[in-house]
């Protein structure tokens, strides 16, 4: 190549370089990779949290269900819902989650009420329950296995649960304060422990069989209770007397469990709450990968887990869960909360393996607690930007660039919920309809998908999803309609199966009161801002026309 040509090439490269370093300046800077976002969503689905109920409830609620098939069907049925989230989030790639797009595409007051209820109010309740879960599931069994029953008794006492609970909530707050750069590193560490736990869990269950499991269970119970009877078969016999009858496979029962599976599988989209901090957030395919990818991975995991659980003896674990769900007095003799973690701990060949499984479980739940802070604070942050909450909640600390006050409010809210969770556990009865407090957010997402190409035509056509159409119909609208159909499917089960908890009038009333109070608050603040501050908060939700 001659000198002149080289000079031309050099100048061309300079101009291209100029464009290259222009682009990073013109967009939002994002800290998390798309793989971090995938992990984020996997953690949200929560290995050892909501999934437990799908396994526990089977023999009592849906004895003919094939739980593996339930989870596989859930992967399929949730596709429209997750597609709606992924597509809308990639079109509105900023932090604050579905509040950002449902407030613009549906109705601001309703969007505020739905997201406040779903992602702040009721998540504060769950966040208060997570420390209790860590205590029951990891701390107490660990202390017992270390031979310190007295310490275990203390952590399980009201005082112990309150103190340790506040301690864990505070620790999670400290982990959330330094912001997403720190969280990205923390998540990778905690997830590494969780992965080890998962692998060991599956291996332990795969390595056992009913006979050897029975022997281990009996040894375990003999060691903890001092009674050397055949506990394994006793569980089966007691359940039989209490009314448990194994049932043949039933599609009805299998489908009936989908709403229960959604208690975990319905949360794998939470990366949309931090969308402004994820690289490649505007790429729809990457959004689908990180969001729907979590559902596929976790659905397959839970399906496999259930299949492997058979190795402990399906009659045994179904009987155990049946007695637990029925509240049979016999179950009080089992020293731990019966779930698949407990079964794996019993089947485990050694203490180290058991510790690692429990450590990973605790790591996952703690990770989820930190995540709850981050998500809740970002929803509050987005709502504050729209002037709905006091300005202080949008304050970003100068040291960590993190919404400090929003996080502190979240901590205080979680502690407030912890008190009744510890001292008045009967309060759980009043929250059985909480699913209704979350369902509206899903419904509004479906509606937003339908209205997007209509209400914000310019923004839709400029969005990355405009090119996705089926027979000329925007895919987001098809997905939105299918999302509403899926919400209808969920509602059908909740209305026809009393055990799912929606038929509790007190609980339903509480949920509705939260919605109504939120909407009233919205209109009061709207009036106040207009009258005393000259701010029309409606303007935050309107799309300004270019001409």
């Amino acid at each position: 190549m001659g000198d002149k040509e080289q000079k031309v090439r050099d100048e061309e490269q300079k101009v291209k370089n100029k464009e290259l370093f222009i682009r990073p300046k013109s967009g939002l800077v994002r800290v998390l990779s798309v793989h971090d976002a995938l992990i984020f969503n996997i953690v949200c689905i929560a290995f050892f949290s909501g999934s437990i109920y799908a396994f526990q409830m089977t023999s009592y609620l849906a004895p003919g269900a094939n739980v593996s098939l339930t989870f596989l069907l859930t992967i399929l049925f949730t596709l429209p819902l997750y597609l709606s989230w992924a597509m809308l989030a990639s079109s509105f790639p900023r932090s604050g989650g579905d509040y950002v797009f449902t407030s613009r595409l549906v109705l601001p007051s309703l969007a505020f009420a739905a997201t406040f209820s779903a992602w702040i109010f009721w998540q504060l309740w769950y966040n208060a329950c997570f420390p209790i879960q860590i205590i029951w599931q990891s701390i107490s069994p660990f202390l017992v296995m270390m031979g310190n029953s007295a310490a275990s008794d203390w952590v399980l006492s009201h005082t112990g649960m309150l103190v340790v609970g506040i301690g864990l909530l505070f620790l999670a707050l400290l982990a959330a304060i330094p912001g997403m750069s720190f969280y990205a590193k923390l998540q990778r560490i905690l997830f590494a422990f969780t992965i080890v736990s998962i692998i060991l869990l599956l291996w332990v269950l795969a390595s056992t069989n009913p006979a050897s499991f029975a022997e281990r269970f009996n040894s375990f119970m003999a060691a903890t209770t001092g009674n050397k009877m055949d506990w394994y078969n006793q569980v089966i016999n007691v359940a039989k007397e209490a009314g448990y009858v194994p049932a043949p496979f039933s599609w009805y029962d299998t489908l009936k469990l989908i709403p229960v599976a959604m208690m975990c599988m319905g949360y794998g989209f939470w990366s949309i709450m931090i969308m402004g901090e994820i690289k490649g957030a505007k790429e729809t395919k990457l959004a689908v990968y990180s969001i729907y990818g979590s559902v596929i991975i976790m659905g397959l995991f839970f399906a496999s887990l259930y299949a492997l659980l058979q190795n402990s003896g399906s009659l045994f674990y179904n009987s155990l869960f049946y007695l637990y769900m029925k509240g049979d007095p016999f179950i009080s003799q089992i020293p731990f909360w019966p779930n698949y973690m407990f079964i794996a701990a019993v089947a485990s060949p050694n203490l180290l393996c058991t510790y690692l499984i429990q450590l990973g479980a605790a790591a996952n739940v703690f990770n989820l607690m930190v995540m709850m802070y981050i998500v809740g604070a970002r929803v509050m942050f987005a709502q504050t930007f729209d002037r709905i909450w006091p300005e202080k909640l949008s304050y970003l600390g100068t040291r960590y660039i993190s919404p400090i006050y929003a996080l502190i409010v979240y901590f205080i809210g979680s502690v407030i919920w912890l008190i009744p969770a510890v001292f008045y556990p009967e309060i759980y009865f009043y929250f059985t309809a909480v699913v209704l407090g979350v369902l509206l957010a899903y419904v509004l997402t479906g509606i937003a998908g339908i209205t997007f190409p209509i209400r914000m035509k310019d923004a839709y056509e400029a969005s990355p999803i405009a090119k996705y159409k089926i027979m000329g119909v925007p895919l987001i609208q098809i997905s939105g309609i299918a999302t509403l159909a899926f919400c209808g499917f969920l509602l059908y089960w909740y209305l026809t199966v009393p055990e799912l908890g929606l038929m509790n009038p007190i609980s339903v009333s509480i949920v509705l009161i939260v919605y109504v109070v939120s909407i009233v608050y919205f209109y009061i603040i709207r009036w106040y801002r207009a009258k005393y501050q000259g701010i029309n908060i409606d303007l935050a939700f309107k799309n300004i026309p270019p001409e």
Partner: protein
């Protein structure tokens, strides 16, 4: 009713910044006056586009170009639509031949000449739009430059009486505004950047003209340092192009604002600071009694990010970020 309540008592300004040549966003900015019901429109700096995109005519009558990492090859009847896309992200389409494009790349002088012509043409058109659309209204419009805008841009704005830079203007009977386009040193060697010492001198010279500091508005393009509205990824300027500094897989974030601006705000405590420069740091913060805002920018997506601030003689009553 809401609008009536607002109109009675407050002066309302709409501030946006860093639109980098995006015509779509500029049109939304002009439309914001009526849409948001404000009295004053203020466009902060960095109003010019970042680069020229040669749209090269081929022998067969088709056209080729490359921008935003994509290659385009369109027919003659589609070239105007392509040029609209280029304008949408704020760049300047330049219809030429392959030879013309080579000349442009090979000669920085030629490039600057073409850039200047296209940038001033677009700005002249914008000025005409302002004069046409707002001529029968009481809405005041101010368009300031930023560090990315060459001095000839400021001259053009001054000649059309839209430029508030380096003078004191009254946006209402109680509130003065001073504006400054210059920034502290950046990794990108922009036309209007200088050392912190020079910046401090420019600020102090400007502020000697202010009568009532308590009600003054600082329209300074660069935000105060370490204020959270200046947070940007750290850049290694020794490489070309400059690269993000990454530690353990995560970009290092720093305060990229100005020490001089921060010290001026801390010392003089004006009513309000309007800032831009760092697109990703939308937010508001109080430094003492001074509310400092940065509405951020998403011009390349065609989104007008702005902030409405309402105040009266007693002070700021409220503010609200918008995203249109």
């Amino acid at each position: 009713m809401v609008k009536a309540l607002q109109k009675k008592k407050f002066t309302r300004i709409f501030f946006a910044t860093d639109i980098h040549g995006s015509e779509k966003v500029f049109l939304k900015f002009i439309g914001a006056a009526k849409f948001y019901g404000v009295d004053v429109l203020i466009l902060g700096g960095d109003i010019t586009g970042k680069m020229v995109v040669p749209v090269r005519e081929q022998a067969d009558g088709t056209f080729k170009c490359e921008f935003m990492d994509q290659k385009w090859h369109v027919k003659k009847e589609e070239v105007e639509k392509l040029e609209e896309k280029i304008k949408f992200v704020g760049f300047y389409p330049y219809r030429t031949t392959e030879g013309g494009a080579k000349k442009l790349y090979s000669s920085p002088k030629e490039y600057e000449k073409v850039y200047k012509r296209l940038a001033t043409d677009r700005l002249k058109r914008w000025i005409e739009i302002v004069q046409e659309r707002l001529k029968d209204t009481d809405i005041k419009v101010y368009i300031a430059g930023g560090n990315d805008d060459p001095p000839y841009i400021a001259d053009l704005l001054t000649s059309s009486n839209l430029n508030p830079e380096e003078r004191v203007i009254y946006i209402d009977e109680n509130h003065e505004m001073v504006s400054l386009a210059y920034s502290n040193i950046t990794p990108w060697k922009t036309p209007r950047e200088c050392s912190e010492e020079k910046l401090a001198k420019k600020i102090e010279d400007l502020l000697t003209k202010v009568e009532n500091m308590e009600n003054c508005i600082f329209n300074f393009h660069v935000p105060p340092i370490n204020s959270t509205i200046d947070t940007a990824p750290k850049v290694d300027a020794t490489t070309m192009p400059p690269k993000y500094v990454v530690e353990r897989g995560v970009p290092v974030m720093i305060g990229a604002g100005s020490v001089a601006v921060r010290e001026a705000i801390e010392k003089h405590q004006p009513l309000l600071g309007l800032h831009g420069h760092i697109h990703e740091s939308r937010g508001a913060i109080k430094i003492g009694r001074t509310l400092c805002v940065n509405p951020g920018s998403e011009y390349s997506e065609g989104i007008l990010r702005g902030v409405i601030i309402s105040f009266d003689e007693k002070g700021i009553k409220g503010y609200q970020f918008t995203s249109g």
